[in-house]
């Protein structure tokens, strides 16, 4: 998986309006040569694809663990849509600086998470109820987003729509420094609690009886999951389906118990970077938003997952 990730990353550096050979790319990477196209244009995009993909994969794994349901990922239960709403508000009402966008999307994601939690909480915590309510909230937030875009001024609306599918077009180093740092902190926090998260998959009673502090663990999981989702959304828009598919694909490839984080992160990185390459190639020289490709891949995955679950039930 790591090899595949590196290969796709290299391919991303090679590919573009003009093809650069792997040799040329290595020369730039090692500092022997200099190329603005590779180090300032393609490099940030490739790194964003890998890091954001990993962040989305981890966010998906976190929420699938939290809801104990393979459908319980942030894009399905409305966190992406909520983060996008927050970003849209920052864009239309405020002036839309990158700090405002980031704050807006984190606030939007947290608000949606809190709303779903309150609506779903009835004497305890049921994953299925949370997912069903999340799907409804997702539909509502999507409607709110369309309404905001329709009401916005034309230039703002065009920018917002292009972004709404989720796109890595034109990301630069300046856009990435803070998001990368945030994601690194969040992933480090989650890594420290991964052991407890897996223990919690034995059910609340066993987890608590073996010494897991469930309330604190859940709060941290929600914060990290929303944080990763919202950070990616603030920069690249709501990229759908990576968070849904990556944890489950990673789990099957790794053959591990439960829904572990590392395979989810690696698979997420491969999926997003792969989807972004496809997005650039399909209608070249027009670069599609990566969200279009990830949605197409995710749609196929979803059909497969549903038929499999139906057969099991």
């Amino acid at each position: 998986m790591v090899t595949l990730m590196l290969c796709l990353g290299l391919l991303g550096l090679c590919y573009g309006a003009s093809w650069a050979s792997p040799g040329e790319v290595f020369a730039v990477l090692t500092g022997a040569d200099h190329s603005v196209v590779i180090s300032d244009w393609r490099m940030p995009r490739v790194l964003a694809g890998l890091v954001f993909g990993a962040a989305l994969g981890v966010a998906g794994a976190i929420f699938q663990n939290l809801t104990r349901n393979p459908m319980g990922s942030p894009d399905v239960i409305g966190l992406d849509a909520g983060a996008y709403t927050g970003a849209l508000v920052a864009l239309t009402v405020l002036s839309g600086t990158s700090a405002q966008l980031a704050t807006g999307s984190v606030a939007g994601g947290l608000a949606v998470a809190a709303a779903i939690y309150l609506l779903a909480y009835q004497r305890g915590f049921s994953g299925l109820r949370l997912v069903v309510i999340g799907i409804a909230v997702n539909a509502m937030m999507t409607a709110v987003n369309s309404w905001i875009v329709l009401r916005a001024e034309l230039e703002v609306a065009i920018a917002a729509v292009g972004w709404s599918a989720g796109s890595l077009n034109g990301v630069s180093w300046d856009d990435l420094a803070i998001p990368f740092a945030l994601i690194a902190v969040l992933l480090a926090l989650m890594t420290m609690r991964a052991h407890a998260m897996h223990q919690a998959s034995l059910g609340d009673a066993v987890a608590a009886a073996t010494g897991v502090g469930l309330n604190r663990l859940r709060l941290l999981m929600v914060l990290v999951g929303v944080g990763c989702t919202a950070t990616v959304t603030a920069v690249a828009g709501p990229i759908a389906f990576i968070a849904l598919a990556a944890p489950q694909i990673g789990r099957r490839l790794a053959g591990s118990a439960g829904v572990p984080l590392l395979p989810a992160a690696l698979t997420g990185a491969v999926l997003l970077q792969g989807a972004d390459l496809l997005a650039q190639m399909l209608l070249a020289p027009v670069a599609l938003p990566v969200g279009v490709v990830s949605t197409a891949i995710g749609g196929c995955y979803l059909i497969w997952l549903l038929t499999k679950e139906v057969r099991r039930a």
Partner: protein
């Protein structure tokens, strides 16, 4: 009789429904205690309160004179092992991995898996008779095998206390007796066992200390041979019966006189 674990004047409620009011219970050390009573009499709730899964509204559960709520989660989990009725096995987990999860309270970020863990898991699987299943996925096991695997997980926790909520449900009669025999053996090795049991005859045969509950109250407790008579069974279960000595162990055996209708 000494008791490290006890409930003092605890009041338990779910939302509006008060389950128990000012309940007292001393759990005798090193004994097999069975809690019996009709459905919804509050026996599972009491068990959950003992392991701190439920916080009493008033009163407290004490271990060594200290409220269980004051223990750090892992410190308490090194004392009290608990098996609920409906534990969840993660997808695709193998038996050995699941048993290993019982080691969680003994692990930390810096010491994830030690030789002690390895030894405890192997020992627990041997005690529960699941060594042969070690590499099998838990999902593929029969109900009886799965229950033994969960018992092994709690054993791997190596706690002086074992609390089990209806451990024999879903098992066929042979596996029920094997499981109760295993619990009695663990008691003989020095552990304190507390189990909610459905079958009162089994409780009388295997338990040293019987706690009979109804409507959230402890109606009677003591050695089964001393406390069980037809009046108690009528009071607790509304069931007319005669009590005869168990032909195998001599412990009380309840034979209901109800014949249909």
């Amino acid at each position: 009789m000494t008791a490290r674990l006890s409930a003092r004047e605890i009041t338990l409620r779910y939302g509006d429904r008060v389950v128990s009011t000012r309940l007292n219970l001393d759990v005798p050390d090193g004994a097999f205690t069975a809690i019996v009573g009709p459905n919804a009499c509050g026996k599972s709730t009491l068990l959950r309160a003992l392991v701190r899964l439920m916080r009493p509204e008033a009163g407290q559960v004490e271990l060594d004179g200290r409220a269980v709520g004051d223990y750090a989660p892992k410190a308490l989990a090194r004392q009290l092992g608990f098996l609920p009725q409906d534990p969840l096995a993660p997808d695709d987990i193998k038996v050995r991995q699941l048993v290993g999860r019982g080691r969680f309270p003994h692990q930390s970020l810096l010491a994830l898996w030690s030789a002690d863990d390895e030894e405890a898991v192997t020992g627990a699987m041997a005690a529960a008779g699941v060594e042969d299943l070690a590499d099998r996925p838990v999902q593929e096991l029969s109900g009886g095998q799965r229950q033994r695997v969960w018992i092994a997980m709690v054993l791997a926790q190596r706690t002086p206390y074992l609390l089990l909520d209806e451990p024999t449900s879903f098992l066929d009669i042979t596996h029920q007796y094997q499981l109760l025999g295993l619990l009695a053996r663990l008691r003989d090795e020095g552990r304190t066992v507390i189990a909610v049991l459905h079958d009162i005859n089994q409780a009388c045969r295997f338990a040293d200390h019987l706690v009979a509950m109804r409507d959230g109250r402890v109606v009677a407790e003591g050695v089964p041979g001393d406390v069980v008579d037809a009046t108690l069974i009528k009071d607790v279960f509304d069931l007319p019966s005669v009590i005869v000595p168990d032909p195998v162990t001599g412990t009380p055996m309840i034979v209901p006189t109800l014949q249909g209708e």
